[in-house]
């Protein structure tokens, strides 16, 4: 057991998996010699060679498209998209191909593929280095969308994603890379994809969230505890599939639900979570469901006052939770 950052947990898992399975390869822009723009893959090319950790041409459609072919012919590709914002040139390959291949072949073909990409804002990344793109992919059956919120989860979820027989998008919050630290066991372990985790027990209200917002919600919960408000935090860990059981359980338990994400409000994961609660747990609620999310503007602006106005913060979460508690 060692204390690691979120980034180190991901790197060490990649290393462990590369050692365990020679069919696994990593590739993408700048992942080899430079070790990735965030240095997640630092040292991996030196250890595993240029055939297994590959600097690819600057072409996301080709990165994902070749990964589909390679996966079908026996490799376990774990390509990286340099920023989630640059996944769009590959969307055709991901949505039309990777997601539909098993279904269209009536189960004859499968695409075991993990696409890693840093996402999220609050790092002066502006419109094209801050985006949250999970809801777009969560809409697509055939894909799994995983978003770890702690170093421990980052490891167990990544190992599961690599072992999965279907395409998994694995989104890493770039503001979490170095700011989140936690205990991570040395040995390999798997966290099942589709299982949420109650990160904090509480009785007055539930915050349902994922990714960086888990730690922000924890900070808000600590503040609220001093004010006598007891907050439960459910970390979804994957936004497709959603853990319906865990969502309903917490809603029934506290009767008040605040859903938090950095992604835009409209059409976001919050809408789906709240529909599930409305359908299956309406009469357990003591207050209308509340959502706190990024505003409906095309992307996060650069200038600090605008970026701050966009970002969901621990303070904004605490404020929303206070309102809900009072209802």
């Amino acid at each position: 057991m060692a204390v690691m950052t979120y980034l180190e947990a991901i790197r060490e898992t990649l290393r462990q998996e590369l050692r365990r399975d020679d069919r696994m390869i990593i590739y993408g822009e700048d992942v080899g010699v430079r070790g990735g723009v965030f240095r997640v893959t630092e040292g991996l090319q030196a250890e595993f060679g240029e055939d297994r950790v590959i600097d690819s041409p600057l072409a996301e459609a080709a990165i994902v498209g070749t990964a589909i072919g390679a996966a079908i012919n026996g490799l376990r590709p774990v390509p990286e998209i340099e920023f989630a914002d640059f996944i769009f040139p590959a969307i055709n390959q991901i949505v039309q191909e990777a997601a539909r291949i098993r279904y269209r072949s009536n189960g004859d073909f499968g695409v075991p593929l993990v696409i890693r990409a840093p996402f999220g804002g609050g790092v002066h990344g502006a419109l094209y280095h801050s985006q949250s793109v999970e809801a777009l992919f969560a809409h697509v059956p055939g894909l799994k969308v995983v978003i770890p919120g702690t170093p421990y989860d980052a490891k167990g979820l990544l190992a599961s994603a690599i072992q999965d027989e279907d395409p998994v998008l694995y989104f890493e919050h770039k503001a979490a890379y170095r700011s989140l630290k936690g205990e991570v066991p040395d040995e390999r372990y798997l966290i099942p994809i589709g299982k949420a985790d109650v990160k904090r027990q509480g009785k007055d209200l539930s915050i349902i969230t994922y990714g960086l917002m888990v730690s922000y919600a924890q900070r808000a919960a600590e503040t609220l505890e001093k004010e006598g408000i007891s907050v439960e935090i459910v970390d979804l860990r994957s936004v497709r599939p959603l853990d319906v059981e865990a969502i309903l359980e917490t809603a029934k338990k506290t009767g008040k639900v605040l859903i938090v994400h950095e992604d835009n409000l409209t059409g976001g994961i919050g809408g789906e979570v709240s529909a599930l609660i409305a359908e299956h747990a309406l009469f357990y609620l003591d207050a209308p469901i509340m959502r706190l999310a990024g505003p409906d503007v095309p992307a996060m602006p650069y200038s600090p006052p605008l970026e701050h106005a966009f970002m969901v913060t621990p303070d904004k979460i605490a404020e929303a939770a206070r309102k809900l508690a009072k209802f």
């Binding site: 700048d30 010699v33 430079r34 600057l58 072409a59 914002d85 640059f86 094209y128 095309p298 006052p305």
Partner: protein, 320 residues
């Protein structure tokens, strides 16, 4: 080419270098979160800009093109306002990351970060020029790394099929962040790709502004004559890391950088102008003073300017 014209080219190259140097200082002082540089690319950018009808022809730049936009009429104040994310930034009102240019007034197309998307926009601007017969040429600027994208190839093909008045201008500096050109393409020259689309591919020394000017001028004439697009490849080098967040020591040797530095376009062009008595040392000193003043003025102005008001966050999602 008149001496005045050549001096003007030099002035804009030197201005760009001085603005760039100042941006790095502001970054190191923690006053500018990120810097993207044109340092080393000035000859390619300014030389090509001067072959255009500046402010009338469209340029479609990318983040590397500080010297280009200065040569195209953006002011140092406007650049610094953009760098510091101020409300008055005419590129984006502080919304975009530095080096994401766009100024309708000067026909500088607005640009995002997603590489190669702009190549197709240039073709589209040129499509309108062909239909409207407005006499404008459009020029897309991009790095060699971005030519791996499908959209680059789609742009060339579309433009060539329809003989659009467009120029594709590649600034080949040998690297896409850390990835060397040989891992980007199996050909030596980006220009070779033109053949597949039925257009000329021209290689030029990107560190010589006069040569760049000449080839761009020819490509422009060709475009205006209705003969279609040209792909120009300016071979050059960036002297600094990809951005202020990059450390280039990981992927290229100091010797390699030093070798290219011997051909610093600013130094060699200055020497050429002095040796050929196109520019006197007194004129040079005056020019340098003017540049210093402009950079100081721009920095002071931008630092004092107001940040955007958070209440403007929701403006311009749609027409208003």
């Amino acid at each position: 080419m008149t001496p005045e014209f050549q001096k003007d080219i030099y002035y804009h190259m030197a201005l760009a270098r001085a603005v760039d140097d100042r941006m790095w200082i502001l970054n190191r002082q923690g006053r500018a979160p990120v810097v993207y540089s044109s340092n080393g690319h000035e000859a390619a950018q300014v030389g090509s800009a001067f072959a255009l009808n500046r402010g009338e022809d469209w340029i479609v730049p990318y983040y590397r093109d500080l010297a280009l936009v200065l040569a195209y009429g953006m002011t140092p104040r406007e650049v610094m306002l953009h760098l510091l994310g101020k409300a008055e930034d005419p590129n984006s009102g502080g919304r975009q990351m530095p080096a994401h240019w766009g100024l309708h007034r000067r026909h500088i197309m607005t640009t995002g970060s997603v590489v190669a998307t702009q190549d197709i926009h240039a073709a589209g601007l040129a499509l309108a020029s062909k239909v409207l017969k407005d006499g404008r040429v459009s020029v897309a600027y991009f790095g060699e790394g971005s030519t791996s994208q499908g959209e680059f190839h789609e742009a060339l093909n579309f433009a060539s099929v329809h003989k659009l008045p467009v120029i594709f201008f590649c600034e080949n500096n040998g690297y896409a962040i850390s990835v060397p050109a040989r891992k980007q393409m199996a050909v030596m020259d980006v220009a070779a790709r033109a053949a597949g689309y039925g257009m000329p591919g021209v290689i030029v020394d990107g560190n010589d502004p006069l040569k760049v000017y000449e080839v761009t001028k020819l490509a422009r004439e060709r475009a205006l004559a209705g003969d279609g697009p040209t792909l120009i490849e300016a071979k050059t080098y960036r002297f600094v890391p990809h951005s202020s967040d990059d450390d280039d020591r990981v992927y290229r040797s100091r010797e390699e950088v030093a070798e290219w530095k011997k051909r610093d376009p600013l130094v060699t062009f200055e020497k050429y102008l002095l040796d050929n008595q196109i520019l006197s040392s007194e004129e040079l000193a005056a020019m340098q003073q003017k540049i210093k003043d402009a950079v100081n003025d721009a920095t002071d102005y931008a630092e004092k300017a107001a940040l955007p008001d958070p209440s403007t966050l929701g403006l311009y999602v749609y027409h208003q």
